[in-house]
């Protein structure tokens, strides 16, 4: 007897990634030999030895459990179920979770998947860290790779699309996800880690990770590091001089608790763009302290992953995943400027290069190469409002396919 298990209702390996949110799955009999009835009870569990863990349910809401028993027809018809990553047990490598199907104690099928979650950069395993660095080094490709697009998306010409407006968080969420999907084309196990900037992160600012700094403010990497060839704008290397002691201090920002307490409405919470976000940027002297050059430093993406995580935590704390709720967003009297209203599509992904949007061509020549836009949840021209329900809490179809290690479902 054999069964086939599909994660995210797809036979493809590229679909075998889950977060803390329920993912639709199905199981069907592919070989009914030995079956003695029209249905066979199949037990689904996470196999022993799996590093990441998942939990099961036959519904997308309600309690999830360590195992699930389903009646599966011998006809080959599929039976639906759901898996979700078990909070606190993300994967540490590709396919390190095995979902096993058994019939009367005998294994009849299995599938490997990954509980793919964004993690605290300071606590990554060396292998996780190196995979992230390797993917970033490859996408940079000594300045000749696709990273050029990500650098060009965030320069002075487009500043008004992404800063100093209510769309700031949504735009950067999309930006991070776009880069993350591009990194996952190189290494499917990779997520962008976050730099928890209100706490010391001694493991981040080392020559083996994001680099330490010489007295001139040139970042140094260990021999064989993936960033030894990092180049942006034809300029080799990274300039970054901390204004704080990275070994024992956090950056000069308000604490996470203070950030989450900025207010229960977006109108007040969005002050976080100044502090901690802006404060984290200017806690260094170097590329990262000016919006025009900030993404030249790969630390930028770890900084913004934490900014996004803070928004995610705030959303969860206040149950504000629905963009249309008044407290979830801010609309100025008379409306927000373009790019900062819920229904506005976001440059550059919308391909609009006529005023009042930036007139620079969209990176990649029309964005055809961006895997981010092929995600079923994103579509060809994501709008600000598409970035809110990132876990599919309001509607499963809204899921963006990422989560944080310490933001519970």
């Amino acid at each position: 007897m054999q069964v086939e298990i599909q994660i995210n209702n797809s036979p493809l390996a590229s679909a075998r990634f889950v977060t803390w949110s329920p993912a639709p799955c199905r199981v069907r009999m592919t070989d009914a030999s030995g079956a003695t009835a029209p249905t066979t009870m199949i037990d689904l569990t996470c196999a022993a030895g799996s590093t990441g863990k998942v939990r099961f349910s036959n519904a997308s809401s309600g309690p999830f459990a360590n195992g699930l028993t389903l009646p599966v027809p011998t006809s080959g018809a599929s039976v639906a179920f759901f898996v979700a990553g078990k909070f606190g047990s993300p994967s540490t490598a590709l396919d390190d979770v095995t979902v096993e199907a058994k019939s009367a104690g005998t294994s009849v099928g299995s599938v490997n998947l990954t509980v793919r979650i964004r993690k605290d950069a300071n606590t990554l395993t060396p292998a996780e860290r190196d995979r992230f660095l390797g993917a970033m080094g490859t996408i940079n490709n000594r300045g000749a790779g696709r990273f050029v697009d990500f650098r060009d998306m965030h320069d002075g010409r487009a500043d008004r699309e992404m800063h100093a407006g209510p769309g700031f968080l949504a735009w950067h969420r999309a930006y991070l996800l776009d880069l993350e999907r591009a990194l996952q084309v190189i290494d499917a196990s990779v997520t962008i880690p976050y730099w928890r900037f209100d706490k010391p992160a001694p493991n981040v600012f080392t020559a083996d990770f994001m680099g330490d700094t010489d007295p001139l403010g040139t970042v140094r990497f260990s021999a064989g590091h993936a960033f030894e060839f990092w180049t942006t704008d034809g300029m080799m290397g990274i300039d970054r001089n901390p204004r704080f002691n990275t070994a024992v201090q956090g950056a000069g920002v308000i604490s996470e608790a203070a950030t989450l307490a900025l207010g229960a409405t977006f109108a007040t919470f969005r002050q976080m763009e100044l502090d901690p976000h802006g404060s984290a940027h200017v806690s260094f002297n170097g590329f990262i302290d000016n919006p025009a050059t900030a993404p030249k430093d790969p630390l930028f993406f770890l900084l913004h992953a934490n900014v996004d995580r803070l928004w995610a935590k705030w959303q969860r704390k206040n149950s504000l995943f629905e963009s249309t709720k008044a407290a979830a967003f801010y609309v100025a009297p008379g409306g927000n400027r373009i790019g900062h209203n819920l229904g506005d599509t976001m440059w550059p992904w919308n391909g609009v290069t006529t005023p009042p949007r930036p007139t620079t061509p969209p990176p990649g020549g029309g964005m055809a190469v961006s895997p981010f836009l092929n995600d079923p949840w994103i579509g060809p021209a994501p709008a600000v409002e598409n970035m809110f329900d990132y876990r599919g809490t309001v509607a499963a179809r809204n899921q963006l396919g990422f989560d944080y290690d310490d933001v519970q479902a």
Partner: protein, 276 residues
């Protein structure tokens, strides 16, 4: 206290510096109006004010770049203040101004940095710093002086490395980098900078060097680890997989070499195993 009230305290030269700093730090950068930004800029360029006051004002302006909706309209005035600041008698502020101006690609900063390099007088920033900042908007008129400094046997290591990093954008410097990279007399740190530069300017030449360095029993381990990583992440997998001598050597290194070399060897073998 409103921003206006706080900045009135900050702008009052009769007040103690600590009070003025506290007032500046109490302001909300996100809600500055144009007049507030003007007040802060005036403080930054005020050479009579205490350094702590000027520093606090500059910090608020840097913050405002990220979150203040008026800032983009006001940016030209910011640039004017910075241009004034780059001639400040206090090196800290001259350097801060130049650091921001190069990011904004203001031509006056380039001119100033070149004059610093050519000057025999005491300058507000070091030659190494000037070379570092010139990289942001490199123009060919910086290359001759960078080359002179890179060739000067009396120059300190930091300045020399900064000169080499600037020259990494000069296609004419490829041969220099190849020569320095191949020279085992050079410090490994210098050779690694040259490796990155050569990889930018003449990637095929670098890949050839990288393969040779892996096979070289007398090569420095840091240079070897860098070479292996370059081949693993940026090399042509199929071409590398067909080089049996190289593959055998890398297997040997994976089994017994210093940690950085071993790790890079493992990545290299993973890469070519996708092809084999």
């Amino acid at each position: 206290m409103t921003n206006k009230a706080a900045l009135a305290i900050a702008g009052n030269a009769e007040r103690k510096a600590a009070d003025r700093v506290k007032a500046i730090e109490s302001t909300e950068a996100v809600s500055y109006e144009i007049a507030d930004l003007d007040s802060l800029a005036a403080l930054v360029v005020d050479t009579k004010a205490a350094a702590s006051v000027r520093r606090a004002a500059l910090h608020q302006l840097l913050l405002a770049q990220f979150a203040n909706p008026m800032f983009s309209k006001w940016r030209r005035k910011f640039i004017s203040a910075l241009v004034k600041l780059m001639d400040d008698p206090t090196p800290e502020f001259a350097e801060a101004a130049l650091g921001q101006l190069v990011k904004l690609k203001v031509p006056a900063a380039q001119t100033k940095l070149l004059s610093i390099l050519r000057s025999s007088d005491k300058t507000p920033i070091s030659a190494a710093k000037a070379l570092q900042l010139l990289r942001y908007d490199v123009h060919t008129d910086a290359y001759p002086i960078a080359r002179e400094l890179a060739d000067d046997p009396a120059i300190d290591d930091r300045t020399r490395q900064a000169a080499l990093r600037l020259l990494a954008a000069d296609p004419e410097a490829a041969d220099l980098f190849e020569k320095l990279l191949k020279s085992k007399e050079e410090a490994p740190e210098v050779r690694r900078v040259c490796a990155a530069a050569l990889n930018n300017l003449k990637p095929k030449a670098y890949q050839k060097f990288a393969q040779a360095s892996v096979l070289d029993e007398h090569e420095n381990n840091a240079v070897r680890a860098q070479s292996l990583m370059a081949l693993a992440t940026l090399g042509d997998s199929e071409l590398l997989a067909s080089n049996e001598q190289l593959t055998d050597k890398v297997k040997e290194l994976r089994a017994g070499a210093p940690p950085a070399v071993k790790k890079a060897a493992r990545l290299y073998l993973e890469k070519i195993s996708d092809v084999v």
